[in-house]
Amino acid sequence: MSATDTPASLPAPSAPDTTRRSPWGEVLHSLFRSGTFLTGLFILLFWVVCALFGQHFVPYDPLESDIINSLTPPAADHWFGTDQLGRDVFSRVIVGSRDILTVAPLATILATLAGTALGLVIGYFRGIVDDIVSRVLEAFMAIPVVIIALLAIVALGTSKITVIVVIGLSFAPIIARTVRSAVLAERELDYVAAAKLRHEGALHTMFVEILPNVIPPILVETTVRLGYAIFAVATLSFMGFGIQPPSPDWGLSISSNYGMIGGGFWWTVLFDALAIASLVIGVNLVADGVHGAFND
């Protein structure tokens, strides 16, 4: 080779690497490979379909009483038997998912919105705002939900809205605490200082700069809270707060039938209880999956 070889032209500066999967892509990818998540999702979707369309495919009208056939044990024509008023337990269980699947998610969304806003504010401002608000939240978290519910019902009257507000507000501090600690870590990063050096307002810095980066822990906490919310809604309906008869709601059904277990009419209670349990387990599996996917 001689010195007259012409050097080939040099390449242009590098192109951005667009082949790498985005972090959200990674999360979805690992979610859909997680057996835990998929099992949970299956259970959850089952109940969502029941809530949305159950009323069209159940064999009986869940509200229609048939006194002659009351308290028949599970059999071919009534798979889960009938209750005291002769209503078909199977149809009631299927359709009974509707109220709980409206109230619990709405309560969780309320908790997430309020908790996120609160967490952003105390994490961002820290100092005295944080000290005061955090103490108040701790005090608030120490009060049992039931007591808050009782107070709220005295003040607001029973209704689904009351339940949503009560559960939403009592879960908000927990979410706020999670968001706060994520924000405390984020605000030390230099992009927050860079925002200050542009004279960005606190709202912009909190909601446009910091918020997108703390979504993962918020999502995890939200799914976990949804499980608790389902449980809390069922408990409150059992106690007679919130969801009112004649709804076929599970908690309500258990509450009106549990006196009959002693008489051997277990089917009036068992299937509703199993339904609550399965929904809570399903949501917890989803929450575990989400947590795992974000913490790989």
Binding site: D5, P13, P16, S22, Y191, R198
Partner: protein, 677 residues
């Protein structure tokens, strides 16, 4: 070039190939690496980040990550084939004959155990127990010359500074008296002076121990001061090898030539020409390589290079080069033209005037004076370099300027003759956009949820006051001025390399036509080739826009390249302030002298090194008198311990804080004034 297996060789890699499994495919990271380290020899391995240096080290101790596997070749330690060892023999080899020190000493130390416990454990494993083990542990700490070893034994790792932690890690690595010591970037995370101490230590231990050393670093200067022979790794291949002196003074591979040209050397300054750069990037792992791996980035590449993989040529003298044109390697044309349009020096009024600035933090109820009585001034288009060890107050000073932390009462900062409010919130829009910063770590500085377009547009909107069409036009200009293209706008920061991210950060700082840009270690996370490009960019932007920089870096070569003035800080005080050339070439303050002599240099033979002993005193409890007296090699007596010297003018514009008069300093430092041109 395989040599016959010889028991005298401490390490012998033959045709070593390693792959990492990613996305169900084995991707080659090391390709037929042949390398021999003789007994007692120190061998340096250099190359850009990602070229496979750590993989070599991890293969030798068989500690590859789970998805890594050796796909071919052999590894022999002391003549024993490591790959044939069973688990027990391998464990014994690791315990007896090889030790490894990592970049991050935290990796080697258990955070929940006292140092003493961790050290004695090693001896207990070897069968020495009780008091004997403790004595040995203490002896080990003495050997790595840690101050007050007895108290160090009682401490937890987090209670030690980075330099002390690394000493302990080295002590642990030496505990079993290994015949092979592998050091993977052992000083990369450390300050210049601490780095120098640790390197000194390694050098001394080498003489005492007769262990062979595999020294991995991306810092060519460090390797050149430490090693007998050096290998240059590129894309998992050894592309050049030879004695350190030969390779660094007479490189035979264009890649080595290019790497060496990226460094500001021999006191090179921004007005004397731009640094050379290496265009393009290292091929990704597992890339199919036809012909020469470096061809895409090599200005000498020909058709032959693209078709025919170069073998390891032997140009004689114990050297090897994987280049078809190894005899012409040094004729590699520059990738970046050296010429610059030198802006004529102006006698503009100062753009920045800082007077008596103080910052006191509270530390455990005690006042900690992070910045004490600092006054500096800077003209438009000039760079003020801030140097000093960690904890000397450089970053605090920068944050005071930016208004991110408020200074103590009294003192003033004036920007173009107008007083700057201490807090950012009370500064005017004009003042806010006039002082901006390029942070050290672009991953922290750029919001990972936002696209580059969003990041820059927002800056133009807020700092430039632009919107709509004018914003788009200006965005395009801005992007071009930092040599990015439209393609880079749509992506998120994580899709860009470190150098490209730093360009985005620079563009953001320049969005509002700033008067002063603080650059806080802007290149310390980058490879030398990328560093050169960023330094060139900063110098270009400065000469075009007349912007002033406050430049912070622990790399004194880099500071010297870019700075017109230097402030040397120690425990929050200015020890020396003056024109860059005066400060660097001396006579200078004893602290500056020690800092400068601590820097490993490519073109300096081991000579009169002034060493800085001991740890930096705590700023919460500074020494009396001259704060430097506890470590000052030129201390003159009691006066240094009782009376704090004034910052006195040695020459017009050059001030020094020392009891030794300037003329006397000049006399003392005379032999050192000989500078490489």
């Amino acid at each position: 070039m395989t040599e016959p297996s010889h028991p005298a060789n401490a390490l012998e890699l033959k045709d070593l190939s390693v792959a990492y499994r990613v996305g169900r495919r084995d991707r080659a990271v090391l390709r037929n690496v042949n390398l021999t380290i003789k007994a007692g020899e120190a061998y340096g391995l250099v190359g850009e980040s990602g070229c496979g240096k750590s993989t070599v080290a991890l293969s030798v101790v068989r500690y590859l990550p789970r998805n890594g596997s050796i796909t071919g070749g052999s590894i022999a330690l002391d003549g024993k084939d490591v790959m044939k060892l069973d688990a027990e023999a391998l464990r014994r080899a690791r315990a007896d004959s090889v030790s490894m020190v990592y970049q991050d000493p935290g990796k080697a130390l258990n955070p929940s155990l006292r140092i003493g416990r961790q050290l004695t454990e090693i001896f207990e494993l070897a069968g020495v127990t009780g008091q004997a083990a403790e004595d040995k542990a203490l002896a080990m700490l003495n050997r790595v010359r840690i101050s007050d070893p007895a108290s160090v034994m009682q401490r937890y790792p987090h209670q030690l500074s980075g330099g002390m932690q690394q000493r302990v890690a080295i002590a642990m690595a030496l505990a079993n008296d290994p015949s092979m010591l592998i050091l993977d970037e052992p000083t990369t995370g450390l300050d210049a002076t601490v780095e120098a101490e640790v390197l000194d230590l390694i050098g001394q231990l080498r003489r005492e121990l007769s262990a062979s050393i595999l020294f991995i670093s991306h810092n060519l200067a460090v390797v050149s001061n430490m090693c007998d022979r050096v290998g240059v790794l590129y894309a998992g291949m050894l592309v050049e090898e030879g004695s350190t002196k030969d390779v660094f003074n007479d490189p035979r591979h264009p890649y080595t030539v290019a790497l060496l040209r990226c460094l500001p050397r021999g006191g090179q300054r921004k007005d004397q020409g731009r640094l050379d750069t290496i265009p393009g990037f290292l091929p990704g792992i597992g890339a199919t390589i036809v012909g020469c791996a470096f061809a895409d980035r090599c200005a000498l590449a020909t058709e032959r290079c693209r078709a025919e993989p170069p073998p390891l040529y032997d140009p004689g003298g114990g050297r090897l080069s994987r280049c078809h044109y190894h005899d012409k390697a040094q004729s590699l044309p520059r990738a970046t033209p050296a010429e610059i349009v030198a802006a004529a020096p102006k006698q503009a009024p100062p753009v920045l005037q800082v007077e008596g600035l103080n910052k006191t933090y509270a530390s455990h109820g005690r006042p900690l004076r992070a910045v004490k009585d600092v006054s500096v001034s800077l003209r438009a288009g000039e760079t003020l370099g801030l140097v000093g060890e960690s904890g000397s107050g450089k970053t605090t000073f920068a944050r005071l300027l930016l208004g991110l932390v408020p200074p103590d009462e009294g003192g003033s900062i004036e920007l173009e003759g107008k007083k700057l409010a201490p807090r950012l919130a009370s500064r005017s829009e004009e003042q806010v956009k006039a002082v901006q910063i390029v942070f050290q770590n672009p991953d922290s500085a750029l919001n990972r949820s936002h696209s580059i377009r969003h990041i820059l547009s927002r800056a133009l909107k807020r700092l430039g006051g632009l919107s709509g069409k004018t914003l788009d036009t200006r965005l395009e200009e801005l992007v071009r001025s930092v040599r990015l293209t439209d393609r880079h706008l749509a992506v998120k920061p994580r899709q860009l390399s470190g150098g490209l991210k730093q360009r985005v950060a620079i563009a953001r700082a320049f969005a509002g036509e700033p008067r002063i840009v603080v650059c806080d270690e802007p290149t310390s996370a980058l490879d030398v080739s990328v560093q050169a490009a960023i330094l060139n960019l900063l110098a270009d932007l400065q000469s075009r826009q007349d912007v002033s920089y406050i430049f912070i870096s622990h790399d004194l070569g880099v500071v010297r390249y870019l700075s017109d003035k230097i402030a040397v800080l120690y425990l929050g005080r200015i020890m020396e302030f003056g024109p860059s050339e005066a400060v660097f070439s001396g006579p200078h303050h004893p602290y500056t002298e020690a800092l400068l002599s601590a820097v490993p240099q490519l073109d300096r033979t081991e000579s009169s090194r002034i060493r800085l002993d001991g740890e930096i005193p705590s700023a919460a409890n500074p020494p009396t008198g001259c704060v430097f007296h506890t470590r000052c090699p030129r201390k003159i007596g009691a006066i240094c311990e009782t009376q704090e010297p004034e910052l006195t003018e040695a020459q017009p514009g050059h001030t020094i804080r020392c009891h030794i008069p300037y003329a006397e300093l000049a006399r003392l430092q005379k032999p050192k004034v000989v500078e490489p041109a």
